[in-house]
């Protein structure tokens, strides 16, 4: 297929579906190789980057989706229904961040890190469709394993799990330096 037509087809499909569509699916219906589809998606994304465009193309792991540009929120909210806004308590957010970084993870592991039970938080996250069960761990009691969903990526504006804000050893060193700077009391036990 000619690239111009391919781009138009992809735009038509993404526009109609509204929801995210897997790249694999796009390859299937257009009977086109991965590189070509990816190339066309790139052109499309660049087209939307133009100032006079109000939409943009986002990536969610192996899928793509169209959405509005954040800067036009004020205008949109006057007419459109506000997006589902999950109000997540600190407890729930902490649990979510553990699941996001350690997935697949069991409840027990989460509880070990937080020092408190996490049943309520995990249930809330499953209810919000931010977290899902990934299966069961092959260990005594076959505990459930949890991981994040595509909705999670959308909700936090992350393209893929690799794109999660990193917390590396540097950051840990920062914490330490910070702590040391703050030390004003030297106390002996």
């Amino acid at each position: 297929m000619e690239q111009k037509k391919l781009i138009a087809v992809l735009e038509a499909v993404l526009f109609t579906m509204g929801d995210s569509v897997e790249v694999r699916k796009l390859m299937e219906i257009t009977e086109t190789a991965k590189e070509e589809v990816e190339g066309a998606l790139e052109v499309l994304a660049r087209k939307y980057q133009a100032e006079e465009s109000g939409i943009s193309l986002i990536r969610l792991e192996n899928a793509v989706q169209l959405c509005t540009k954040a800067e036009y929120y004020e205008y949109l909210i006057k007419i459109a229904k506000a997006p589902r806004n999950y109000v997540l308590s600190d407890t729930v957010l902490e649990t979510l961040s553990i699941i996001a970084y350690k997935q697949p993870v069991t409840r027990l592991e989460i509880e070990k890190i937080r020092g408190v039970s996490c049943d309520h938080a995990v249930n809330k996250l499953v209810e919000f469709n931010l977290v899902r069960e990934l299966g069961r761990l092959d260990a005594p009691g076959r505990p459930l394993l949890f991981g994040t969903t595509e909705e999670f990526l959308r909700c936090f504006g992350v393209k893929s799990l690799e794109e999660l804000p990193e917390l590396n050893t540097d950051q840990m060193a920062d914490f330490q330096a910070e702590a040391e700077k703050e030390v004003q009391l030297k106390m002996e036990i």
């Binding site: 526009f15 109609t16 579906m17 509204g18 929801d19 986002i58 989706q65 169209l66 959405c67 509005t68 540009k69 954040a70 800067e71 929120y73 949109l76 459109a80 997006p83 806004n85 999950y86 997540l88 600190d90 407890t91 957010l93 902490e94 979510l96 961040s97 553990i98 996001a100 970084y101 890190i113 937080r114 020092g115 408190v116 039970s117 009691g141 076959r142 959308r154 909700c155 936090f156 504006g157 992350v158 804000p165 917390l167 950051q171 840990m172 914490f175 330490q176 702590a179 040391e180 703050e182 030390v183 004003q184 009391l185 106390m187 002996e188 036990i189």
Partner: protein
């Protein structure tokens, strides 16, 4: 009227610990255990009225802190490599991990605020196409799942549910209050003693129906021993106890 005191709510023992470390402006790697433990205990004291389920988690941490405090007072332990071990090490590791995830959760929150400003579009399938209901490929969906496999899944799930119940605590059953009249028991034992004069403690216990009755009987025997009415004698350890009734006393 009691004045309600609002305590800052902490999200678990680690959260409270981090707060105390932060408040005292001390290095997380060099926690003054004595100070932090005291403040921690103070907080728990004020929390006492709260839900016991929540409390238990804080108490576990309190026990850990006290354990560390004790070990800090003792000569330093040395590991296989001959290095001195800091009793705080494990707790510091846990605190740092918790702090890291807490920090990441703030980061996520910021991202959420940004991402919330993006809107999506509902599906708008043209009418002509909407009529095509995507068929479900059941052969693929079911795969090699069979009824007996499904049955196996159900069984293992029911078993898991059974396993979840704590076999110790759930076997406690209901604790019922048993009313036993102490005076009645006392006069019963005295008349028994009058009748038998010299008798076996075991025989006396065998006549008691419930555990509670045995306990009361034992208490009454002790009481009579004290007042001198009973003289008890046991020839060997774990042997039966012989009780002699002494009227004159």
């Amino acid at each position: 009227m009691a004045i309600p005191v609002h305590l800052q709510v902490f999200d678990g023992p680690l959260d409270l610990l981090l707060h105390l470390i932060d408040k005292n402006k001390v290095d997380i790697y060099d926690i003054p255990i004595a100070l932090i433990t005291d403040q921690y205990m103070e907080y728990i004291d004020e929390m006492k009225r709260q839900d016991m389920n929540v409390m238990s988690e804080f108490l576990v941490m309190a026990a850990t802190l006290l354990d560390i405090k004790c070990r800090m007072l003792l000569p330093k332990e040395v590991n296989e490599e001959g290095e001195e071990e800091d009793p705080r090490e494990e707790m510091v590791r846990q605190l740092l991990e918790y702090k890291m995830y807490k920090y990441m959760s703030y980061e996520l929150k910021d991202r959420q605020i940004d991402a919330d400003r993006v809107l999506y579009k509902p599906q708008t399938m043209p009418k002509e196409i909407e009529e095509y209901r995507p068929p479900i490929d059941y052969e693929q969906l079911i795969g090699d799942m069979t009824l007996s496999k499904l049955n196996g899944i159900f069984k293992s799930m029911m078993r898991r549910q059974v396993d979840k119940i704590d076999p110790i605590r759930s076997s406690f059953g209901k604790i019922e209050r048993e009313e036993i009249d102490m005076d009645e028991k006392t006069s019963y034992i005295e008349s028994y003693a009058l009748k038998h004069r010299k008798f076996s403690f075991r025989n006396l216990l065998e006549k008691q129906g419930s555990r509670m009755e045995m306990v009361i009987t034992f208490l009454v025997v002790l009481e009579f021993m004290k007042t001198g009415k009973f003289y008890v004698q046991q020839d060997e350890l774990f042997d039966d106890i012989l009780i002699t009734y002494r009227e004159a006393a």
